[in-house]
Amino acid sequence: MNTNTSRGEADLLVIGAGLSGLMAAWQAARAGLRVHVIAKGAPSLHWTAGTVDVLGYMAAASATAVADPMNALSALPGYHPYSLLGAAQVRAALADFLALTEAAGLPYVQGDGNWLLPSAVGALRPTWLTPQAQAAGDARRTAPMLIVGFSGLRDFYPHLIAENLGKQGVPARAAMLPLELISTARDRNAIHLAHALDEPQRHQALGRALRQLVQPGERIGLPALLGLEDHGATWAALQSAAGAALFEIPMLPPSVPGTRLFQAIRRSLRDLGVRVDMGIEAIRSHTAAGRIEWVETATSARPMRLSAACYLLASGGVLGGGFDSDHTGRMREVVFDLPLTVPQRRSHWFRAEFMHPAGQPVFQGGVAVTAAMQPCHPDDPAQPLYANLWAAGGVLAGADPIQERSLEGIALTSGWAVAQALARR
């Protein structure tokens, strides 16, 4: 016995616990499917701003932010994941995400068009859905901002933010408070600070300090660490103590808003009876007669076989570890060895500039899929390569989601669409 099998009872095995995999799992479980989620480790949600970027910039005109992604979808090329999904599915998926987060106690809000939210360097981020606690930072509103930082917090520089906001016509000033108002611990990790602010007894002192700083009519921007498990209550209590609208500005990874979202969805999945197993790395698969038979995962001794009726590859692209590459310029999809649409030569993967407005060519590549989000057959792109395999999120070809600010949007909508398709079967 050199392998080891797990109960193959699932209707859907989701590989990857990022936003695409979680959304698919949630939607499929709601439709009554038995779903099992495995992930090598904690997902990229822990790194992002915690907002849902649907489409911030068009590759062709990336100097100006997209005002309303719903009006811009039709201008995307036909191979773009949104074009494959269609605007109706995109809207429906986002509406379901709002319902999911509302029910999970971490409500997200939609504005009229993209929000323009200050980043931790003072640039304005175009995003479609924002957690409630970031919404008051919308730069399209004219109210002046007071950006408040904490001395010694290495991931937040309020004066830099205020200066850059000012250069963009957003009235802003900056102030510093002692970090000891939050915690006296030597470790200044944002997650630990957020956890410390879950304690209600810390709210009064911080709230009072903010009230002393703020002037009438100002809104206050703070680093995104206003509570972790009890974020809603923390945010509300601080807001009331400060006597002004408070908004969070996301910081470098690890991201507090992203971690909150991951934990909220994971709780929702648990309530639906969906297992999310971390530390389970899919390493290869076995196929026969155009179907996936099983997936093998790495264990402490021998590989473990996991089988299910259907499989969703949601392992992320280069960043999520779904793709690996070597110095010879070979890039491969790790689990199913699916064909990838990346430039042949490594020297064609990149441009001379790090922040080139059109992004790096290598990140446009990925797994090409059919309109039903199934990896394409190389001989006939309209046909699926495997009858029971789907793909969603960062593995998809046809878009550089970081460059165009569509990371969460593509993830949510493609994951949702796969679940819908499976539920219909």
Partner: protein, 591 residues
């Protein structure tokens, strides 16, 4: 135009030029040094970090070997904190059979380079990852050195002795009087452009010393003198961790990819050697990277599968009177050219060639000649003078981590990969003011670890911006605002020596006015440094480093939206230099 009068003008702020300034100042000369960018921005800051035992040259170039072992012993005392006593191996791999090893042993004996053959088992005990199929191992006193720190320490010693060092001062013409025809031509100094302040400076000197390495021919051409200095481009790759703690050389005639140098947290595989037309051409070809990894595998099997952090290239100055042939064969010995004697141009000396290990000796010989030109004889004292910082003792890899633990500075880390604390960065910016974050990188190793600036670029910009608001940092290269006694760079790399400084006062709520000296723009600092880091990772982006790069993109694009910051049109004197030429080259097929 601003004017400066001096006895000796040194052109070039690499190891040699800085060494010359130090030596000359110690001998009581009035010295001004100009460097068009930051100290060590040229070849000194782009080499693999080897402190030669001389072993590399015992067969091919015995005189260099003798010089190396002599200087090796001196630098271990005068620059102790910049040098790690790694020791070195010369290993005979299955590809290196032949008569060379025996010649090597004879050469070591003849040149006085200490060399002991040790058993394969003993070598593997010390370096378990070494290729077990090697047939012979010779132990020599190689070491590794921090050429940034050593040059900064030398520069501080020079300043303490009265030298004036002007960085970001670019030479644009030599001041010449007389006519070449009748042999009365004389160099009287130089006109330079202060890139930070944006104005010109005229420096009058009794003697001008050209210490510009691979650029030396360009400088002599300003006086109408043609010399042959061949730029030999050498490409190196740095691995994410050391793998070895001993320098490992192939025991054969010098060739591409024949050495692995553990220096600081990385192992550097070096180098290629390509003759290039222009010393500014530092473009790295894919085949060069692949070759380094393949050659590295022969010394440490599997090394090519480890993570590469970065690749870079430096240009060796290879001087030859009558040059022809491949550049590896050009001599490594240094060349000291008296242009009065050779070309009838007085007041002008060129020093070029050589290697980092012999910089002090080159400076000594140069200043000996300078003294003669100036009509005095003053003895050299650099061999017995320790530079500031030596009191910290010899370098050891764990020192930063140890000092952080002992002083409980864990919460202060700004560059987490290379263990740079907030105070180290602030003090480097205050005490060795420079104009880009790349300059601060050379001071404290900011952004030199696995994430290549992914996390610390943003933090450093925030911190430097705060210093700017407090009026502490001007981004003006500091040569005007900083008196010599305010420079304090010897302890720059020590967390324990940078704990006392408090953060600048920037507490008041109503202080957010824009702070815009000419080069001081946080958005430009951010853009320049990210681009500078990109230039060095682009040639090695695959696997884990590609994943890291994608995370860095997530941070700077998706989280910070840094590609849509104001002031997008601003550039610095280095913005163009940081670009990478991605045009594919036909040599790519060699991969």
């Amino acid at each position: 135009m601003k004017r400066i009068e001096t006895e000796i003008l040194v052109i070039g702020g690499g190891a040699t030029g800085t060494g010359v300034a130090w030596d000359a100042a110690l001998r009581g000369f009035k010295v001004v040094l100009i460097e068009r960018r930051d100290l060590t921005h040229g070849t000194t800051g782009r080499y693999h970090g080897l402190l030669h035992s001389g072993g590399r040259y015992v067969v091919k170039d015995p005189q260099s070997a003798v010089e190396c072992i002599h200087e090796n012993r001196i630098l271990r005392k005068t620059h102790a904190h910049c040098i790690e006593d790694t020791g070195g191996f010369f290993v005979v791999t299955p590809e290196d059979e032949g008569p060379y090893p025996d010649k090597f042993v004879e050469g070591c004996a003849a040149t006085g380079v200490p060399c002991h053959e040790i058993s394969i088992a003993a070598a593997l005990r010390r370096e378990p990852l070494l290729n077990p199929r090697i047939s012979r191992v010779f132990e020599v006193p190689d070491g590794s050195s921090d050429s940034f720190l050593a040059t900064h320490a030398t520069a501080q010693a020079a300043r303490q002795a009265g030298a004036q060092l002007l960085i970001y001062h670019e030479l644009y013409s030599l001041i010449i009087e007389g006519a070449a025809e009748n042999g009365t031509q004389r160099v009287l100094g130089a006109r330079v452009h202060d890139a930070a302040k944006g104005h010109d400076v005229e420096i009058r000197a009794a003697l001008t010393i050209n210490a510009t390495g691979a650029w030396a021919g360009q400088v002599t051409a300003m006086a109408g003198i043609r010399i042959s200095v061949i730029p030999g481009k050498g490409t190196m790759v740095a691995m994410n961790h050391r793998a070895l703690n001993t320098v490992v050389n192939r025991c054969k005639m010098p060739a591409d990819g024949d050495i692995i140098v553990p220096v600081h947290t990385v192992a550097v595989i070096g180098t290629t050697d390509e003759r290039v037309a222009d010393p500014e051409n530092l473009r790295i070809e894919p085949w060069e990277v692949n070759l380094m990894l393949e050659e590295g595998d022969k010394m440490v099997p599997g090394l090519s599968r480890a993570r590469v952090v970065r690749a870079w290239a430096g240009v060796r100055p290879l001087y030859q009177e009558d040059y022809a042939g491949a550049s590896r064969d050009a001599t490594r010995k240094f060349a000291l050219l008296d242009h009065r004697e050779r070309h009838n141009v007085a007041g002008f000396i060129t020093i070029t060639g050589g290697k980092w290990t012999t910089f002090r000796l080159m400076a000594e010989k140069t200043v000996d000649m300078a003294a003669e030109h100036l009509g005095t004889r003053r003895p050299c004292t650099t061999a017995s003078t320790s530079v500031p910082g030596t009191q910290q003792g010899a370098y050891w890899l764990g020192h930063r981590l140890h000092e952080i633990e002992e002083n409980a500075l864990q919460g202060e880390l700004i560059c987490e990969c290379e263990l740079v604390t907030r105070a180290m960065l602030e003090n480097a910016a205050r005490q060795n003011p420079t104009i880009t974050l790349d300059d601060l990188r050379r001071d404290v190793r900011l952004g030199m670890g696995p994430c290549q600036g992914g996390f610390c670029t943003y933090r450093a910009v925030g911190i430097v911006h705060a210093l700017g608001q407090a009026g502490v940092w001007q981004g003006d290269a500091g040569h005007q605002t900083h008196a010599a006694e305010e420079w304090d760079v010897a302890m720059m790399q020590s967390p324990a020596h940078n704990v006392a400084e408090s953060s600048p006062q920037q507490g008041t709520a109503d202080r957010a006015e824009t702070c815009t000296p000419r080069l001081f723009n946080p958005n430009l600092l951010l853009r320049d440094f990210l681009q500078e880091r990109w230039k060095g990772v682009l040639p090695i982006l695959w696997g884990r480093q590609l994943k890291q790069e994608r995370l860095d993109e997530l941070i700077y694009l998706a989280v910070l939206n840094a590609d849509h910051l104001p002031d997008a049109a601003l550039t610095s004197p280095l913005s163009e230099f940081y670009r990478f030429d991605t045009t594919p080259n036909d040599k790519e097929v060699r991969a």
